[in-house]
């Protein structure tokens, strides 16, 4: 992370920057239906760190990852990954990175071991070396027992681990994970988080996209928030949180009329439970004043709780959209 590192190689960027992108643009469709998916995004990821691109569905996360992994071409802008240009040095980039996408990237009608051996052979390993590498990866991802079963029979969590293992046959410097835990149960998610932490501890650079704020908070050294094809914020989780009021006052109101009246003030809303989240610094004086301000008659607020701000609040403050939550953010 330190920029003051002595530069003893010809390509200093390669020493410190795993990813640097400037002004990436991408549109899909043609004519009137042309939609700008990425509208000029800049990204910098230091080597050996975990970087999270956070955003809702349709924000452009997958497109950004595919461009960085050379699977899609940007319409504009430049990007270097592992020191190589994604447009002109595609082959070198591909050798240095791996991408594990949202869709299964292994054959259901092959066993876990066969899939990994195939990937290793395609990576240029000899037959015996491929066999060894497959066995190592199965062991590392706790899949040795399942190695001889067709992957069609795997659980969602096992499949995701095998996907990830398949991406690691070439010992990539930069690992892209596109929504690695979407659709996983909480336990599988925890296991995957452990894997990501291990990869990072082993010195790999991890670039992961997620729509789960907690996931970015848990794993990432730095987080960039993507919304509608633009980066709306970037920083550590702590920095992002400090950009909004430190706390949130959740009030449950008495009726729909009160809910409608107070909704514009809220950063988080849940019509089903008549709950509204209001920003505050969390001190007793301010909370008391806020309650008096929104409910001078002492009629509308039924109960309240005070929370420290989550990344959810950050996200809403940054994108200017209150998310109507029917369920709490996932665990």
């Amino acid at each position: 992370m330190s920029p003051e590192r002595p530069l003893e190689v010809a390509d200093p960027e390669r020493r410190t920057r795993a990813i640097s992108a400037i002004g990436l643009e991408k549109s899909y469709g043609r004519g009137d239906r042309r939609v700008k998916v990425l509208d000029g995004i800049d990204l910098t990821v230091e080597r050996g760190t975990v970087f999270s691109l956070l955003g809702p569905n349709g924000a452009g996360k997958t497109t950004a990852v595919r461009i960085l992994a050379t699977l899609a071409d940007a319409d504009g802008g430049t990007a270097r990954v592992a020191g190589y240009d994604v447009r002109t040095q595609r082959r070198q980039v591909r050798r240095a990175v791996s991408l594990t996408g949202q869709f299964a990237s292994v054959d259901e009608k092959q066993t876990g071991e066969e899939n990994l051996r195939m990937m290793a052979r395609l990576g240029g390993l000899s037959r015996p070396a491929a066999r060894r590498r497959a066995a190592e990866l199965l062991e590392r991802f706790d899949l040795t027992a399942a190695g001889r079963r067709l992957t069609g029979t795997y659980s969602g969590g096992m499949r995701r681990r095998l996907d990830l293992a398949a991406g690691l046959v070439g010992e990539p410097e930069v690992i892209f994970l596109d929504e690695p835990t979407t659709g996983l149960d909480p336990r599988s998610r925890q296991e995957l988080w452990r894997v990501v932490r291990d990869l990072s501890a082993g010195g790999s650079t991890v670039f992961l996209t997620t729509q789960y704020l907690e996931e970015a908070d848990q794993l990432a050294d730095r987080i960039a928030v993507l919304d509608g094809g633009r980066l709306v914020a970037e920083g550590t989780a702590a920095e992002l949180k400090s950009r909004v009021s430190g706390h949130r006052l959740d009030v449950v109101v008495a009726d729909a009329a009160a809910y409608e009246r107070l909704a514009p003030l809220a950063v988080q809303r849940s019509a089903d439970t008549l709950t509204l989240g209001l920003p505050t610094d969390g001190t007793a004086t301010r909370v008391r004043a806020l309650l008096d301000e929104i409910d001078p008659e002492r009629r509308d607020v039924v109960s309240f709780t005070v929370h420290s701000a989550s990344l959810d609040d950050v996200f809403m403050a940054l994108t200017g959209r209150a998310k109507t939550t029917k369920e709490p953010t996932h665990v």
Binding site: L71, R95, Q110, M118, G124
Partner: protein, 262 residues
């Protein structure tokens, strides 16, 4: 990855094509019902034509009908067999596997070559099985050794050409079901040809198409070579067709692959 770095580009392409062929064969061996169907249909058609319709068809050659129909059935079999390639290419393109392979820097040509090579292997096996059944029901070919080799080579050329065409169809179509319709295309291409009945017995307006479509010269060549009869220029016309189809299919599939993965 030092091995991949030191391998020559040609060596790497060959290695990747072989690995992809092995994969494709392994997947076929686990999709036995599809392979079985593509084998059973031509055999059933052969039995139906030989036993149900054949008696009414006069081929004017003096040979038993089974001798007339077998070359066409071999082609039909290749058509059905290669349509499996269209389906599996299409399935590959829909899944995440294609991104993984591209991340590993496997060229589209190697991926398609794997499908085509395994299609060729599958088709050689099914050709042998169809010939076996044909022999059981009275097919008695009398080729010379060069004739037999020429017939085998020509059939292989045809199989490879339409397998690569099937791969292009797999890239062109939006779903595995649509890709599977390639087998219907192959089936209907054999009807207006000399597969089941001499073209001379068909209405004259169809002669132009029937005589000049790719299936007819291949069948006429196989028939002549297997029965040791003069074949004229048919084998050369057939080879030219196979070469032309192959060129177009390779070019088209390369383009489609780049478009679909852009």
């Amino acid at each position: 990855m030092s091995d991949a770095a030191t391998m020559s580009p040609g060596g790497r392409a060959l290695n990747n094509s072989l690995v992809m062929t092995a994969r494709s064969l392994r997947l076929s061996s686990r999709n036995v019902d599809a392979v079985f169907t593509s084998l059973m249909l031509p055999i059933m058609l052969m039995l139906i034509f030989v036993y149900l319709f054949g008696g009414a068809i006069s081929t004017g050659t003096g040979e038993p009908y089974v001798a007339y129909v077998v070359p066409g059935v071999l082609l039909l079999c290749a058509g059905f067999g290669s349509s499996g390639t269209a389906v599996s290419v299409n399935e590959d393109m829909k899944g995440g596997i294609i991104d993984r392979l591209r991340s590993l820097d496997v060229a589209g040509a190697a991926i398609l070559a794997g499908h085509v090579a395994s299609s060729a292997v599958r088709n050689v096996v099914s050709t042998v099985l169809v010939l076996g059944v044909a022999l059981l029901i009275g097919f008695r070919p009398t080729p010379t050794l060069p004739g037999a080799l020429a017939a085998a080579g020509l059939l292989l050329a045809f199989i490879i050409a339409i397998s690569w065409l099937a791969a292009a169809v797999g890239l062109l179509t939006g779903s595995p079901e649509a890709a599977g319709a390639f087998s219907f295309f192959m089936m209907f291409l054999t009807y207006p040809s000399s597969t089941f009945a001499p073209i001379a017995t068909m209405p004259s307006w169809i002669h132009g198409f029937a005589y000049n479509q790719p299936v007819t010269p291949v069948i006429e060549s196989l028939r002549g070579l297997l029965l040791n009869q003069p074949v004229g220029t048919d084998p050369w016309v057939a080879l030219a067709w196979c070469g032309g189809i192959l060129l177009v299919a390779v070019g088209l599939s390369g383009r489609l692959f780049r478009n679909r993965t852009a």
